[in-house]
Assembly symmetry: D2
Homo-oligomer: 144 residues x 4
């Protein structure tokens, strides 16, 4: 496990404050469930509002939570007062996004002063708590 | 402009029927505004629910409409009864997604029996109708 | 066609000088055939050294010329003395890379002070001069 | 560590035979150094032929070996007689590709009957055997 420098002792509060400003996370019903240096988890309970034509969770909804998880994994390693925006990401959809809950993990692969590269994963969890990997993301974030 | 074979004379109805099943499009407030062979446009009025921490439209919301536009551009070129799902996509965010309305265009670059490759664009339109390119997508779709 | 600012009047020389330092281009046999503001073309004659297991040009060789074309399209729009390196790219391989010559076009989609986003295309040209689109790239470049 | 089904008992020979047909690997000087079910390693000694304008290994050369590693990781899990071609890949260049040797690992993330998704890594190894992660790839492969 890579150890990262953590220049902001209040990194978790910085992440939570910024997440709280993302109205889209609240609109989707997404919750920020874990924040560690370079790693963030967001959970999205599946509701009938979030589906595509086959009843799977829409890739836009899953992308939203994985992108935010990667962005906040990045923010957790930046100095106080930093802002992060997404430069680009790629999602590969490995399996239908099915379950009672979607779980998005974002983690920093290479931190940088300007650009940070992250990898994200999206799991679908069923009613028994069993998880299946449904998508993977690679994302580039920039400090503003 | 590439001319494509259109094996489904009722391609527009096929697209509209499938779009109608995407509860997430309705939840976001997205509208299917144009359907042509290999090309689809979806519009998303910007509301306070769709934002990220700086007040731009969240990349998950913009990705949702560009992904759906690419998927339906693909479906418009497939035989009756076909289904389409996304294999992967990449978004590059070129400028903040700002405006009163987001406009997503998806078009087929290379149709195929199994895989179809599309390119998508996302424009932000301001209150004067002026448009700015905010993001580009490349997507791979598969017929199921 | 987008018009770009061209802060370096000697942009073509800057591109040709840097291209001349890429030993890999010479090793492959690639030639810089056109340089315009925000647009570069590189040609790669197909030789028996460049193939993958089915006799198509290897994706590493085609990626090399499209990546360089995008990098130099970026450099053509930067001030004198600038350097460019690739942040990331994505290639979609649309058709087998076949022909007597590969032609790579790179063009700037969105120039920036730090990051520039490009799109690239790779055509295979047969002995009659007929061209087929074989691959598309989206690339992010950074000024160093 | 994921365990995969291995339908071809002679998977290693299948990989080595196909690798032997890639003239481009021989031209670059790349060697197939490890083959396991769903995982392949290719090494590329750095020579003065492989460089870009700053003296780093050109992204086309590094992409070539990571793409081949991912393709052969895929082939190792397919039935006898199968062929694999690349649908698309994305490379993020994390650090300059420097060293005496480049080491490319490809591994299957999700095998499939038609499409297989892989992740790849590219390490630069210096004269002391110390390795640094220089690039990551996500790739989609298709069985032909």
């Amino acid at each position: 496990m890579t150890q990262f420098d953590v220049p902001n002792p209040a990194y978790e509060q910085a992440v939570r404050d910024s997440f709280g400003k993302q109205t889209f996370m609240d609109f989707l019903g997404a919750k920020l469930t874990a924040v560690a240096p370079g790693q963030v988890t967001i959970e999205l309970p599946v509701t009938p509002n979030l589906l595509q034509q086959h009843g799977f969770v829409h890739a836009g909804a899953t992308t939203a939570v994985v992108d935010s998880a990667c962005g906040y994994a990045t923010l957790s390693l930046l100095p106080p007062g930093s802002e992060v925006v997404t430069v680009e990401f790629k999602m590969n959809l490995l399996a239908p996004a099915l379950g009672v809950k979607m779980i998005a993990h974002g983690r920093v692969v290479r931190p940088g002063r300007t650009l940070t590269v992250c990898q994200g994963e999206l799991f679908g969890e069923d009613e028994n708590g069993s998880r299946k990997l449904c998508a993977i993301m690679t994302a580039t974030m920039i400090r503003r």
